[in-house]
Amino acid sequence: MKGFLKQLSPFAPDNSGVVSALFELGGLIAICDAGGCTGNVCGFDEPRWFTMRSAVFSTGMRDMDAILGRDKLLVEKIVSAQNSVKAPFIVLVGTPVPAVIATDFKALRRMTEKQTGVPVLTVESTGVNYYDKGASKAYEMLFDTFAVEKLPVDQESVGVIGATPLDFSSCCAGRYIGEAVKGKAHVYGMGSGLEEIKRASANKINLVVSPSGIAAAKLLEKRFGTPWQIDVPYFPEELLAALPALEGKRVLVIHQQFAASALRKKLIACRAADVAVGTFFMTEKSLFMAQDRIFKEEDDPAAAAKEFNADVVIADRHFKKVLRDFKGTFIDFPHFAVSGRLWEAK
């Protein structure tokens, strides 16, 4: 049955992706929910919640707020919070209830902007899509709002879009990626903040490290002519150390598509016989090869491993449960959006 999952826990939803992309940027993030979604986002999908004091709040929606559509009350709450926090911008994040009751986010944005005088981003996530879709909307809206000034291009400046702990399973991923990039890297949302986003037009190039960064990169290309390319310049040493032993093997990599495809290149360089990529998440056509698979149901990874005749599967160990008949080698490649597990905790 569609949507039925028995072995795999549900992956991080789009509202978590929104928060993850914007978490470090200093905005006031208001999740339009009763507290449950915020609890999930902060308690399960945001590993920086304990250590970084980002202003992420629940709007504390109650049944009568939803039934009567008390937008004015919501705006009052946000304005009151903003008077304390004094954030440079405000984000309203959608969840299932606003999606069902058709909350008018545009009106909320106008009302809130008028009363607070700061930019308001409204990301209409629904809680029924995956994290990458929410992060994609958030990045696009962020750059659309703040990267507006055309600056002279700095030949050393490299933008990195799409890095979140949900994708890279480390709270230090921004630093690692930055160190791996040649030039002055700005890893947006993981080390580089709002001021650097405003200066995005100065980048010589933008690197897109996950599918959620594509829409924003295309926007910057259209607006400033900044070229972009897909690249994942960093993998943990532990994972890279396992690759040389895979010479001559047929390898299935399950992860977000850009990380899996970048790992494919490294595997081919290590003389793997062939490599297929499988993903439950967003994909970019240009990376897609004939043997690659987009997964919909939890039986799909096992079917892909069988069809590809894989000797090795590289994936979050969470997927081991659904690779029932797979008898080959399994190599763990944590994906926080899947298992909620960091490399640091491995």
Binding site: S16, G36, D45, R53, T59, A66, V85, V97
Partner: protein
């Protein structure tokens, strides 16, 4: 950014602070509906919800190594609008049950706020499922946090639904009572249980039931005792349905109220009022001993530590402890007497919210002096590594409960803990694979 703190003399009851955007402190010891549902032995939980809602509940089950008792159906955007909500529940649950190797005696079926807003006919879903699986009891359950402030809260509902499968199969047993509503097994060293044992009264509680048949025995008890107001709806429902009498004996840390509770129970059970002077003295001595060690150290408590936080605060203050701060957003009706007492006798006691946006930037981790925190949120907000890891009273009751808490205070005062590793463990007392 300063904390929003007011002296209790200026606080209004029951809500000292205005509502607004809400901060969710990373203290995870309090139980949620998944933990509570797992108390029902052999029950299988099935959540039919949006992914955003599922993520937390399923990872909760995963953390407690209970994935074999949990399944789910993820609903998609169009499911809200294409008249398939009931079908998703019926066919999803059917599919799951057909794939399970054995049929559970009870299935807790959860839907969430969105389906209820969209008008799902949940009773019809359960009627159809009962037809398809006549040997299974289906219980309607709700993950509906939008109802936190009207009608029965999700917590009250869950505690009520937990006892829906109880049936009246035999005459009620006069010498058997139930304790309803506690997340944790009651501390049986309490004088209450010694007294019940002496009078050959059996006290059943779901936390002690290792099988569904043991749980069903609770249907034979003649009286339901509740310790927390969140369990009252469960007991009232059972009184109506099974004829089991209900007696609410709220957890208290005050000598007089504790003994008054015992008197009420003695009356209900037609027993002589017991003499608990020894237990009362022991509690007093335990507090005096703790005071000698802790001295004038400031103490901060939070509402997650105990169901009656103001009762505990009052007892500690009356015993001479330097309680300076209580973290709480809302008080329950049962707190009123203690609230008024504290306003009159300890007017400078500080009340601090936990949900207020400013609390995101509370000065945790920068202590000017040693503080003893009681409760996980008090530990988080004060940044004190000397904290009592007390969640929702831990099953302590009566005089012995007071003595036990005094002992925990001494232990916490002497031995610092790592705040992050302790308070981020979800569901205090539950198994955790993390």
């Amino acid at each position: 950014m300063e904390q929003i703190t007011i002296p209790i003399k200026e606080a209004s009851f029951p809500q000292p602070f205005p509502g607004g955007l809400e901060f969710n402190a990373p203290a995870r010891g309090m139980w949620n509906i998944v933990h509570t549902g797992m108390l029902l032995p052999e029950a299988h939980q099935i959540f039919v919800c949006a992914r955003g809602c599922l993520r937390g509940v399923i990872l909760t089950a995963a953390e407690m190594n209970a994935m074999d008792r949990m399944s789910w159906v993820g609903i998609e955007e169009n499911d809200f609008f294409d008249s398939s909500m009931e079908e998703n529940v019926i066919e999803g649950v059917t599919d799951i049950l057909n794939k399970l190797s054995g049929k559970p005696p009870v299935v807790l079926v959860f839907v969430s706020c969105v389906q209820l807003f969209a008008g799902i006919d949940f009773p019809e879903c359960l009627r159809e499922l009962s037809k398809r699986f006549p040997h299974t009891t289906f219980v309607d359950c709700y993950m509906n946090p939008t109802m936190r402030k009207s009608g029965l809260t999700p917590d009250q509902l869950m505690r009520r639904q937990l006892f829906v499968p109880l049936k009246n199969t035999a005459p009620l047993e006069k010498n058997a009572i139930n304790l309803l509503g506690s997340d944790f097994a009651a501390d049986r060293s309490c004088e209450l249980f010694t007294w019940l044992d002496e009078n050959k009264i059996i006290c059943r509680e779901i936390t002690k039931c290792s099988s569904f048949s043991a749980y069903q025995e609770m249907g034979k008890s003649s009286l339901n005792m509740t310790w927390i107001p969140q369990a009252v709806a469960a007991a009232e429902s059972l009184e109506n349905r099974l004829g089991q009498k209900h007696l609410h004996l709220p957890i208290s840390y005050g000598e007089e109220e504790i003994e008054n509770n015992y008197k009420l129970l003695a009356q209900a059970l037609d027993l002589n009022v017991p003499d608990f002077s020894e237990a009362r003295q022991s509690a007093g001595q335990a507090l005096a001993h703790a005071l000698k060690i802790i001295g004038n150290t400031p103490i901060a408590l939070d509402y997650t530590a105990a169901p009656r936080i103001l009762s505990l605060t009052r007892r500690l203050l009356e015993a001479g402890f330097n309680v300076t701060q209580v973290f709480a957003d809302l008080f329950i009706p049962g707190d009123r007497k203690d609230f008024e007492f504290l306003q009159k006798n300890f007017p400078s006691l500080k009340i601090t919210p936990t949900l207020h946006v400013n609390m995101r930037f509370a000065n945790n981790g920068h202590l000017d002096e040693k503080i003893l925190a009681v409760g996980q949120k008090a530990a988080f907000f004060t940044g004190s590594v000397n904290f009592v890891d007390l969640v929702w009273g831990r099953g302590f009751y009566g005089h012995s409960g007071v003595a036990a808490i005094a002992g925990l205070m001494i232990e916490a005062f002497r031995n610092p803990k790592d705040i992050e590793s302790v308070i981020t463990h979800k569901g205090w007392g539950c198994e955790s694979c993390l």
